[in-house]
């Protein structure tokens, strides 16, 4: 019996081995087949522009490639380590696409956060400003898509043998925006001096990367002045982009009149009341009016409901807001503030 048992086990152990061999043979065959298929595809390039596989060559990079390209886009360097050398073997679109997307998000979110921090502690309704997302997206896409196209057209028209392909210019421009991602997060520190320092550092790094990459190509222009002019425009537009981001999204002074300064020496109950008034003034001033005065009235009354205001005073305030544009309203508040603090 025991002999029989061992015989059986022997058969069983031998069975998987042969099965494995068969399996591996099949695998080998499969691999050969797939490699043959791949060879066919790479040699014939049968993919059309409408197939997703056509674009896979622009996403053919590993994580370490991506990181080295990111570093190359932040630290300007010549020769072996230059950004152009790093992207030359296979310029990718992964980096440009996701860097610009990230930048759109961080700038829109950061711009929102800054207005939150500036109004911190005050009863301020925190709103999403979707117009900021749209405008940041528009600017960044314009900068990173249209500008490379213009540069490419200039390059093709000025030089007989274009030394850069469109995809390479696109790639370089996309990566050159990378420095603005951390900077747009650092802009959240709401100190003007620091904000200016950060934007200056970002512009210097980004422009110098662009300069180092494009100068060897545009510097060869028959007319040296034209080459210099193009480089100057590239750098200027980059600086404009950086400064524009900062001023438009991160540097907005808080809207509304400055009521708090005059109420410091009032009694606490009065101060509370005046705080309320300053709040409602800001909220009324910040609201966008529609074309229909009746709708505006309803919105404004709803807005001012939570505050315990004298009805006459409220009516006056709302009428004032309804009859004026925002800037006029803010200017007219100076007198009002004075009257409040004296009464």
């Amino acid at each position: 019996m025991s002999n029989d048992g061992s015989g059986q086990t022997h058969i069983f152990t031998s069975f998987p081995e042969s099965h494995d061999e068969m399996h591996s043979e099949i695998n080998l065959e499969n691999e050969q087949k797939t490699s043959l298929l791949e060879d066919n595809f790479t040699s014939e390039k049968t993919y059309s522009v409408w197939q997703i596989e056509y674009y896979q060559k622009y996403f053919n990079l590993s994580t370490s490639d991506f990181i080295s390209r990111l570093i190359g886009s932040v630290i300007p360097s010549f020769g072996e380590n230059s950004l152009l050398n790093k992207i030359r073997p296979s310029p990718d679109l992964y980096g440009p696409f996701w860097i610009t997307t990230t930048l759109i998000c961080t700038i829109a979110i950061g711009g929102n956060l800054v207005s939150f921090i500036q109004n911190f502690g005050k009863s301020y309704t925190w709103q999403t400003d979707f117009h900021k997302v749209t405008s940041s997206a528009f600017t960044i896409v314009l900068y990173s898509l249209v500008l490379p196209a213009i540069l490419y057209v200039i390059l093709r028209s000025r030089q007989a043998r274009a030394e850069l392909e469109f995809i390479e210019i696109l790639c370089i421009y996309g990566y050159s925006l990378a420095i603005y991602v951390p900077v747009s997060l650092l802009w959240l520190i709401n100190v003007p001096f620091l904000q200016w320092t950060f934007v200056l550092i970002a512009i210097i790094l980004s422009s110098s990367v662009l300069f180092v990459t494009f100068w060897p190509i545009f510097g060869q222009d028959q007319n040296r002045n034209v080459g210099l002019g193009i480089m100057l425009v590239i750098v200027l537009l980059n600086a404009l982009l950086g400064i524009g981001f900062m001023l438009y999204f991160f540097h907005n002074p808080s809207p509304g009149p400055n009521v708090t300064t005059t109420i410091l020496n009032q009694s606490t109950t009065k101060r509370k009341k005046l705080d309320d008034v300053s709040d409602i003034l800001k909220r009324i001033a910040s609201i966008e009016l529609t074309r229909d005065p009746h709708v505006d009235d309803v919105i404004l009354i709803e807005l001012s409901n939570p505050y315990k205001l004298n009805n006459d005073f409220r009516r006056k305030l709302l009428d004032k807001r309804l009859s004026r544009r925002r800037n006029d309203f803010l200017q007219s508040l100076d007198g009002l503030e004075w009257r409040l603090s004296t009464s």
Partner: protein, 238 residues
């Protein structure tokens, strides 16, 4: 498996009994055993049980089975583990439901605030975001089908949807302006964002997808996608 085989045997027996009875009613009886044989072979091949005559069962059974499948997948998202369930049996019911719930919760009152997000814009953001992330995975030559990826990304919205509902509750209790409520909502949303990313990468970055040295590149857009949605949740103060 053996249990289901027994069940199918019972079912087949019952079927043959019926065919005996229906012989008088001029039904092509000769076809019947053949077709049941077919189903039997399919079942023996280890395929899914759903092939057995979903036409004959009541609608309630069909619906409850689908609902159970969806609930089972939600469970998988809630306790993320390496599994191919969401990839194998993908469906778009879960993603659609979650997307609609999220859009309704985050929708702002445009009467009070002209900048508030609308239902359509949130719905479009989520769906286009998922599509772009999917295309990115395919471009990085990940071996995954379009709807598989959409299914995973959609189901993994679950933690964020739960937090969005919880957010509304917190706002209802504590009010809009207090700093504590804001920080609580912020932390909760951050946790759920990472949960979503973790759950979806458990499916999307599995070894079968074949993203050997570019897992991080495929994961980053997923993170960005969930991060933007969490941002909308934190901003929602209605």
């Amino acid at each position: 498996m053996s249990n289901s085989n027994e069940e199918t045997m019972q079912f087949l027996n019952a079927g043959s009994n019926f065919s005996d009875l229906e012989g008088e009613l001029n039904v092509p009886t000769q076809n019947r055993p053949q077709s049941s044989n077919k189903t039997a072979t399919i079942l023996n091949m280890g395929s899914t049980q759903e092939i057995i005559s979903t036409l004959d069962e009541p609608v309630s059974v069909t619906i409850s089975r689908d609902l159970k499948a969806v609930a089972y997948k939600f469970g998988h998202v809630f306790f993320p583990k390496q599994s191919t369930l969401l990839l194998r049996d993908w469906d778009l019911w879960g993603p659609l439901t979650l997307c609609v719930i999220l859009s309704i919760t985050l929708e702002g009152d445009s009467k009070l605030d002209s900048n508030a997000p609308e239902f359509a814009s949130i719905f479009a953001l989520i769906s286009f975001g998922a599509i772009i992330v999917t295309i990115n995975t395919k471009l990085l030559s990940g071996k995954i089908s379009f709807f598989q990826s959409i299914c995973v990304l959609g189901y993994c919205l679950l933690p964020l949807v739960l937090v969005a509902i919880l957010n509304d509750l917190i706002l209802l209790i504590t009010g809009n302006t207090s700093v504590i409520s804001f920080s609580l909502r912020f932390i909760l949303t951050l946790i759920s964002c990472f949960w979503s990313v973790f759950a979806s990468t458990a499916f999307l970055a599995a070894d079968t997808i074949n993203l050997t040295d570019r897992k991080a590149l495929a994961t980053y857009p997923v993170f960005l996608f969930y991060f933007v949605i969490s941002w909308l949740i934190v901003l929602d103060t209605n």
